[in-house]
Amino acid sequence: MYAAWSFKHKPKSLSQIVGNEEAIQRLVGWVKSWEKGIPKRRAAFLYGPPGIGKTVTVEALANDLNMELVERNASDHRTEEAVRKFAGLASQSGTLFGKRRLILFDEVDGITGREDRGGVGAITQIAKAALVPIILIANNAYDQRLGSLRYYCEAIEFKKPAAGAVMKHLKRICDREGIKADEAALKFIAQRSEGDVRSAVNDLQALAQGKTTLTYDDVSWLAYRDRKEAIFNILRMIFYGKSADQAKHAVDMADVDPDMLFEWIYENLPHHLRDPHDLANAMNSLATADLYRGRIARTQNWVLTRYVIDFMTAGVAMAREKTQPAGFVPLKFPERIKLLSQTRAERHMKSAIGGKIKKRCHISAKSATRDILPYIRIIFEDNAQNAAHLAQWLDLDETMIEYMAGSKKQTKAIMKNIT
């Protein structure tokens, strides 16, 4: 079943929460102070950027202290009247069964809109008169409309946890999901999230769900997802540049390395230059740039990089003769970078099988993968009995058999025939 990991792996106890140790201690101290009677400030006001665990902290706290948590989201109770209904809860000191009560009013900055006139005032009233601890949460504490509210509250700031702390959390999730993740991959996701744990967990899920391993290559392309807008403008400078110099200048403005910029240009070029002659000339220019890259790779003569730049920017810009600047053309992410990391596992599997074929068929692993493997695969798909014999002859392991068989059902049929 699909469940958001940010929900599924939500910390149940304060000990599982990463970062903000100091803020959490203050909050715990304040809640515990209620045991000795009503403190001076009857509400706590937690503020800080989204996704760093404010709500989760309160939930874990209630759990740890065995309190009944009454949780309301301000977005659902926007008017004064609705807030007052909710207020009744705050005037009772406990539940029937003796559990102490903790009230959480989340996203209070969500009620400051015009139609919520009076809402903040009502909350302030409640905060002043509460008989049980009330916790208010907002992203922006300095919103002017919340000003009066903050005055009556114990204000506690939550800060972005450091990347190392986020990483710890991601690691715990990977362990629970049975995913073997490279440290570098988790570090990358953590750093990229800039302390937003929730978005880091969401990213992790998007990248790792259904996998058993997560490598740096699986995640690295994400880096470019965020830079869309900047890239968009740079590409337009190159595709529609009027002078060679202007187009070359685009490279300095891009905060991606030339190789990555090359990929962006290569992917998006055909979507812009629609005239066949312009397209052919521009692609030829890119191919020339690529040829210089090949020469650099062979000779390690990095001075040649300047010609790579020339051809991939100015060369492309000067190819445009007939194409008029198009209207809005959506930016395309360099597909082949994604594909390369997606198909990596498959290529590994193929060459491993190629290695097995090589041992039997007097042929290089490379040629075996190319020339023989496809035929063997057909036999695996069509004839379980023959496949079983071939699997034994080639000494294929079960994962290889599964790959060749193409389906769980056929794999089973083949395995049954193996003696």
Partner: protein, 324 residues
Amino acid sequence: MSFEMWAEKYRPKALNEMINQSEIVERLKSFVKNRNVPHCIFAGPPGTGKTTAALCLARDLYGETYREHLMELNASDERGINMVRETVKTFARIKSIGEIPFKILILDEADNMTGDAQQALRRTMERFTETCRLVLIANYSGKIIEPIQSRCAPFRFTYLRKEDQDEYLCSIAEKEKVKLQPDGLEAIFEVSGGDLRRALNALQAAASLGKPITSEMVYSVIGRANPADVREMLNLAMKGDFIGSREKLREMTLKYGVAGSDIIRQVHIEIFKMKDVPEPWKIKLADVIGEVDFRLVQGADDEVQLSSLLARLVEAGYDMKHAT
């Protein structure tokens, strides 16, 4: 029932069993008779018996213990200079015990060796001629450096003739109790073009369904084995759909791992077959294809270079349409 790949099961074990390349086989037999073998280059297209001939030569020469006097290396897998320095030298310098004073080293797919490795090999060949004879196997002898070529006896293998291949396939079908329809046999020759390994693989894959083999089944097997559809990619480009044809290209290179050099070779063949391309254009396009091929050799990126070729085809398609 297939316990192994037929191409291995029916690989000839002695020079006598080879069905083709009769002139070459005769010369090799004379080497065996004289108990002496020069350094050799076996050049020719795939599936024509080069590796088989080398193995048969060794077996005929040394008898059943031939494995002790033979080393098989594949340059595609270990193509660097270290392979020559370590593996080859170690093997080559140790004397063989027995009646024949030299060992045989089969270096398969030798045209994939780097230039450095070939230079190193040339020295090794000179120094250890007494103790080791090389059989270099390559698709193109041109990719072997001149000094090595001049030290070797050249043998040029050619595709099997249709009668020979057909006869051989029929005999195997009989042994394997597979019904091979005449149109199926025709189809196998058409798709294999005299590449016996390919023919046998296609036959075996088609036979795995357990039905009499028709041309339809052969084509279906080939289609499943080679999803790389160069023709479709080219057609899309000629029609002006650059993005679509680039996607096809990606599918081939990334998903199926087809090498750029293989695609370009097929493109070259297909262009000349295309009926709606005016004849003079074919030569113009061949020039572009050749340039891309050359660039690939120089270490450029397969997909980018082939894409630039596709863009040229889009342009050509456009010009053809507007010229008439």
